[in-house]
Each structure stands twice: as C-alpha cells, then as structure tokens.
C-alpha cells in the first residue's frame, strides 16, 4: 500500500491532485490511502513519525502560518529518507537545485503551469522506481555515513590500509571495514566479482571474463573480474 500525504490549503489544487492520484492508482492497480492537511499540526507530525507505509508527500511551499512546506520537509527528513517529496509552488523556482540536493526532493511543480500532467509524470516515475531507497548505513566516531544502494557502483579493497573504497557516481568513500562485512549489509543485486571487488549488477553493462574486466554504465572499465565468480554473477 502507498500512502499519499497532501499538505495544501487551496481546495482547487487539492482536487486536481486527488484526480491525478486516483488515475495513477487505477492504472497501476494498487491500494492507496490519501490524507489531506491544510497546515502543519500535531496530526501531521504523527503521520510523519509513522513508519509503516511507503509515503509520497505532496507539499505546498507557501502555507498559512509560520511553518512552510520546506519546514515540513525538514521535519520529514529528520528520520525518514525513504518517502518521496514533491513540492507544489506558485513562486519561481529559485532554490530548486538547493532543496533537490539537500532534502532529496523528487520534483518541484508549478501550480499554474501544466501541473496536472507534470504530477502524473512524476507519480508514474515514482511507481516505476519501486521506491528503491534502501540505504547502506555506516556509523563511525567522526561522522555518520548513509548511501543509497542504487548509487553504489562497486566496492574495492584499499591496497595499503585495511580499508575499503565505496565507489559511487560522485564520491569515493574510504572507510575502515572488510568486503565480507560490507557484503552482509548489501542486498542481492551486489555480487563478488573478484577477491577484492564487489559490484552492483544494475550498473554493469558488460562482463569480459577472458580479459578480466567489466564495464560500468558510465563507461568506466574496472580490471577486477575473476572467472571463479562467474556462476554467482550470472545467477
């Protein structure tokens, strides 16, 4: 079941959103629940704290009172990084990039410009992604690290220290751990390709067993492929 939480104080916008949600749910044949709020209150906080369902928040940025949609998004992201957030706004999208990055906002939709089709497109995308928001969580003395599994390309062992390097699209994280320990925290899409390498199968385009390398979706070639693990990889 998917829960839609809509925070919006204009009735007309509420109705449009309702219409789109109904359409999408019929198309995908899933059970849904829709909740409406007009502003931030205790009930909404309860809703945010509840962790049972996957949620899609559709928030209006400009709300009555002192607490804006962005504040609500902050409150959601205090604990919950699994739910999707979509902002509806009538303002220009000045800080769109900022909030997209820091609050992991799915989309910004303008109220008076093509709102219905944009929302429909977004919801379809969310359905297609199947809420793939699993995270690898590593807590250390200095900092807490959380990475989406879908962002991890591959993991290798560091040559010098007893460390491993987690390669993601943008950042290479060096942490103290072992490949075996980390493999336990990952799901089935990750496999060993070599004594010193774990790979995310979703990102691999090509395996070259004879030459001992595989190619990733971003074009990068990694020379850590062993025939020994072929069975497991092709499972």
């Amino acid at each position: 079941m998917i829960k839609f939480v809509i925070v919006e104080d204009e009735k007309s916008v509420q109705n449009t959103v309702k219409k789109v949600i109904r359409k999408i749910s019929i198309l995908n044949d899933t059970e849904i629940e829709v909740k409406y709020y007009s502003k931030y209150d205790k009930d909404l906080q309860k809703e945010i704290n509840e962790e049972l369902y996957r949620k899609v928040y559709i928030l209006d940025i400009e709300l009555e009172g002192s607490i804006s949609g962005i504040d609500i998004a902050h409150k959601i992201r205090e604990n919950d990084w699994d739910s999707e957030i979509i902002f509806i706004t009538s303002h220009d999208k000045m800080f769109e990039t900022v909030y997209r990055s820091i609050l992991d906002v799915f989309d910004f939709i303008e109220k008076f410009h093509d709102m219905e089709s944009r929302l429909e497109r977004d919801l379809k995308l969310i359905y297609n992604q199947k809420f793939d928001k699993k995270m690898l969580k590593i807590y250390s003395r200095n900092a807490d690290l959380e990475i989406y599994l879908k962002n991890i390309l591959y993991i290798t062992r560091d040559k010098e220290d007893r460390k491993i390097i987690i390669h993601t699209k943008k950042v290479d994280f060096k942490i103290v751990s072992s490949l075996n320990d980390i493999l336990e925290k990952l799901d089935s899409r990750f496999v060993r390709t070599h004594r010193g390498c774990i790979v995310n199968r979703d990102h691999v385009v090509e395996y070259k067993y004879s030459n001992g390398y595989f190619v990733l979706s971003n074009g990068k070639r990694v020379d850590l492929l062993s025939k020994k693990y072929r069975k497991e990889i092709e499972k």
Partner: protein, 423 residues
C-alpha cells in the same frame, strides 16, 4: 537540656549561614547590575557572621589549606580547566563539611544524653569510618552524581568571571584566618576595619564593572549600526552596478567600434564581480558579516547559496558572548570547508539554516561534494577533503563544552550541525 538546645541552635546558624553564603555565591555569578552588588555585600556580612561562629567551632582555615593544596596538585598533574577543578573541590569540601557537622552533631547529642567520652580514641575512629562510608556512597550514588552534574552545568553556563568569585573567597578566607589567629577582645575594632576595607574594594569594583558594561554596550550598538550600514552599502552597490551596466549598454549603442570594445570590457568586468544569490538580511545580524566575508572569497556566481533564518530575536540576546564567539569560530571553519567542497562539486550547493530550539541554537550547514573522502579522517587535525590539505581544524571545535558539532554524510551531501547552548 538547655545545652542541647544551644548546641542545635549553633549548628542551625552555621548551616543557615553556609546556605546563604553559597546561594549568594551562585547569584553573584550573574553580576550585571548594581542591585546584584548588594548581594555581594550580604555575602561578605554572612561570611563574617560565619567566622564568628566558626571561631569556637571549627578550623575552616585548615580546610582551606587542604583545599588549595588539592587544587594545586590537580592543576599540576591533570589537564583539567582550573574552574572545573575548583568547582569539584569546593563541592567535595562542602560535602565533607556537611558530613562533619552532622556526625559531630550526632556525637554530641549522644554525649549529652549518655555521659561517655566521645572524644576518646575508641569513638573518634568510628566517626571517621562513618564518614568514609558516606563518602563512598556519595561517589557511587547516581543521584548525587547527577545532581552535581546539573549544578555544574548550571554554574558553568552562567558567565562567571571565575576570578571574581575566587577573589571574594580569598578575602573571606583571609578574614577567617586573621580573626582566628587574633583573639576575641580586639574583634570589634578589627571587624570594623575589615568591613570598611572590603566595602572600599567592592565600591571600586562596582564602578569599574559599570564602566566596563557601559563600554561593551556602546561597542555593541556601534557594531550593529556598522552591520546595518554595510548591508545597505552592498544593496546600493548592487543597484548601482545594475544601473551602470544598462547605461553602458546604452552608450555602446551609439559609440564607435573602438569605444564599444572598451565598453564591452567594462560591462564584462561589472557583470563578473560578486553577486550574492541570497539576501544578507536573512542571516542573523553579526553572523551575516561572517558569511559574507567567507563567500566573498568565492568570487563568482556559480555557487548556489541559500540561507534560511528561523531565529527571530537578536542573536546576542539569546546566547552569551562567549557562545557567540565559539559559534562564529565553528561556523567559520565549517563554512570554509563547505565552500571549498561545494565549489568542486557539480551542483555547487550551499545551504545554511538557523534554528532556535528550546535550549539550543542549531546551525545547519549543508553542501554537496565530489571526489574522494576518507571517513576516519574527518575531524582530524590538518585534514581536509582536498588532497594537499592545509590545516582546517574541525577537531579543535569538537572538544568544547558549550558547542557541539555533528557530521553526517548522505550520498553526496555533507551536513554539519552546530549546536550552541542558549543563555
């Protein structure tokens, strides 16, 4: 029976004066206005009263010698702050004193009811054993430890000039000692002299204190005015620049090809100069200067900076000047790191959020980053995410009492949360 009553009465007075003494001592820590100085005088008078009684009851002077000895030893052999050592020693000493009083009270009552020798060599050690057991209980009891911790937090969160308190205590102890050594017949003359000396010291101190306070207030007002002026200046400059470019474009349209080359150059120069993508008024005053100063070094428009301020009051009204300094220091270091990292990332996003909670002020600094990151080295001295790594010490901030820094990494977003205790 009369004796018992007299005895209990004596102890009652001692305990009462001690309580008043320490209560005023803590209130003293808040000294800001003249009316609080009256408390100081009351305290001195109370201590005087206590000395009269202590004269024929206990040898506090001895305690003080021991206390200062302990403090000295601890200061030499440990790396603790002097104020903390003094605090813990005073607390322990207080406990000892109270215990001593209670046990002596008990013994003396026993002595008065059943007439046997209390001060004999057999009974005395028994008292010491009881005291030791009590002390062990104190050091183990969670209740006591928690209370002491609470008191400690309370005391240290006040802006005590610890020297101030020490001075008053030293005066008090010297008084005690002198009165104890000189005998009671000349006590009236001496007490008058002492009181007048102390009053003199106090008056001089009050005057200095007030002058200091006045100066600080004036400087603060001046700084706030400067800040406002600075912001309007930047605003004006922005408008001016905008107008200038449009005028230059106007002139360019009617000028010769050679002149238009020069004008092109000028337009380029003005367009490339610094533009803030956020409103400086968004940040709390004072801190906005810091942010501007830091961002100014990254002299280009690519950086997407957004500031959100949820603090409505003047920040100096909420946190103490010391906390404010610490916050600025922390924010400076964190911002330096954040700007450096964000500049190298694709999104180039910096986000600041100022929040006021019940007991704390929270500052959130978030930035995007790219490249290699070694988790174990975050917060270590001389480590930055860039490879050459000149020293930016987040580490030095982590150990401070009034400020707390928490680091989180979520995918390619780096979050630093600075928490500062309110007044």
């Amino acid at each position: 029976m009369n004796n018992i009553l007299l005895f209990i009465f004596n102890y009652f007075i001692v305990i009462l004066t001690m309580t008043v003494l320490f209560k005023t001592y803590y209130q003293l820590a808040k000294i800001e206005q003249i009316k609080n100085h009256i408390l100081e005088i009351i305290m001195i008078l109370c201590s005087f009263l206590e000395i009269f009684i202590a004269n024929y009851l206990s040898a506090i002077f001895n305690c003080i010698l021991c206390l200062s000895f302990f403090i000295l030893v601890e200061k030499i052999f440990t790396k603790k702050r002097l104020s903390e050592i003094v605090f813990y020693n005073v607390v322990i000493w207080l406990f000892l004193l109270l215990l001593d009083m209670l046990i002596m009270l008990g013994f003396n009552i026993v002595n008065l009811i059943f007439t046997f020798e209390v001060n004999s060599l057999i009974i005395r050690p028994f008292g010491t054993v009881v005291m030791d057991i009590f002390l062990i209980w104190i050091t183990k009891s969670k209740l006591v430890i928690n209370t002491i911790d609470k008191i400690k937090n309370y005391v240290f969160n006040l802006d005590v000039s610890i020297i101030n308190v020490i001075v008053v205590f030293i005066i008090y102890f010297i008084l005690d000692a002198v009165v104890f050594i000189k005998l009671k017949d000349r006590i009236v003359i001496e007490s008058i002299t002492f009181i007048s000396i102390i009053l003199l010291v106090l008056i001089v101190r009050i005057i200095f204190n007030e002058i200091n306070l006045y100066n600080i207030k004036k400087t603060n007002q001046l700084l706030i005015k400067n800040n406002e002026f600075y912001i309007t200046l930047i605003d004006n400059y922005r408008v001016f620049k905008h107008n200038l470019t449009s005028k230059l474009i106007g002139i360019k349209a009617i000028s010769s090809p050679k002149a238009s080359k020069v004008i092109n150059d000028l337009i380029k120069e003005y367009n490339n100069s610094f533009q803030t993508s956020f409103d400086l008024k968004d940040a709390p005053s004072g801190i906005n200067g810091l942010i501007y100063e830091k961002i100014y070094n990254f002299n280009h428009q690519e950086l997407k900076i957004s500031v959100e301020n949820k603090i409505n009051n003047d920040i100096l009204d909420i946190i103490s000047p010391r906390s404010y300094n610490l916050l600025c220091e922390a924010l400076g270091v964190v911002l330096d790191n954040a700007l450096e990292a964000a500049y190298k990332s694709k999104e180039k996003v910096i986000y600041l959020r100022f929040l006021e909670e019940e007991k704390t002020i929270n500052v959130l600094v978030m930035n995007t980053f790219e490249g290699e990151l070694e988790i174990e080295n975050i917060g270590k001295l001389n480590y930055t995410t860039k490879k050459e790594g000149h020293g930016l010490g987040i580490y030095s901030l982590l150990n401070k009492r009034k400020i707390n820094l928490k680091t989180k990494i979520k995918n390619n977003v780096f979050t630093n949360q600075i928490t500062v205790m309110k007044k």
